[in-house]
Symmetry: C2
Amino acid sequence: MDDSYWMWGKNASHPRILHAMIRVRNLDRSLDFYCNKLGMKVISQTDFEQGRFTIVFVNFSDDFDSGAIELTHNWDGAEDYHHGSGYGHVAIGVPDLAAFHMRLTKLGVEFTVEPKVMIAGAPPLAFVRDPDGYSIELIQTGGYVET
Amino acid sequence: MDDSYWMWGKNASHPRILHAMIRVRNLDRSLDFYCNKLGMKVISQTDFEQGRFTIVFVNFSDDFDSGAIELTHNWDGAEDYHHGSGYGHVAIGVPDLAAFHMRLTKLGVEFTVEPKVMIAGAPPLAFVRDPDGYSIELIQTGGYVET
């Protein structure tokens, strides 16, 4: 087992939000989306032989000091997961949403909501879906003009 | 509108995971759980009169620099949300899980999984449910003895 699986970054002295976990059907497909397309990195990947599942942590950093997404792949999962009505999305902040949109579009990612300013004074937002249909919100965090 | 709603912390130059959004039926009940019980703070609360919903960001910090949970309350939501089979949980790291467990138990929080070491060498974990039934994982991030 990869020791780093149990490392949670340097900030262990205060409570903090670590990650959100989602179950994915096809790990290669998900890693292509989160890493090759969104630009995250794999922080750790651990196979649990006995439980027959794999856990992969991905985020934009090289460590666990910032929030992560935990992808759980059950080896014997037979059916697509359903998403219910309660969970909404995971939000990702990007410095330049227009550039990010152009990059993702070229890579074949489909936007369910194209970038737009939804509310006056707010930054541009957009939504994409990951390969399992989870909703990912993209929020521009830098350089927009306040109105 | 609270200006802070559109502030995303000081780190706007790189992509990063900002928050996970969940829909909640009763905001007072959820804030009691996340703030009074888990110990988070309200970073911003914004009412959207036209859309008839309220958004509250909570986390353990005073700002958006660390990950947050976005609680969305639809004013006219009539039924409980269902959680589906895909989303798993949001994980919170705590320095001392035994102390956290004692505190939450005194406050009436029900544990779906009591604190235990699930895998040799791993830190103690536990699970609670929030008032809407969302699963929250608690992971000890400090001071456990590696085996």
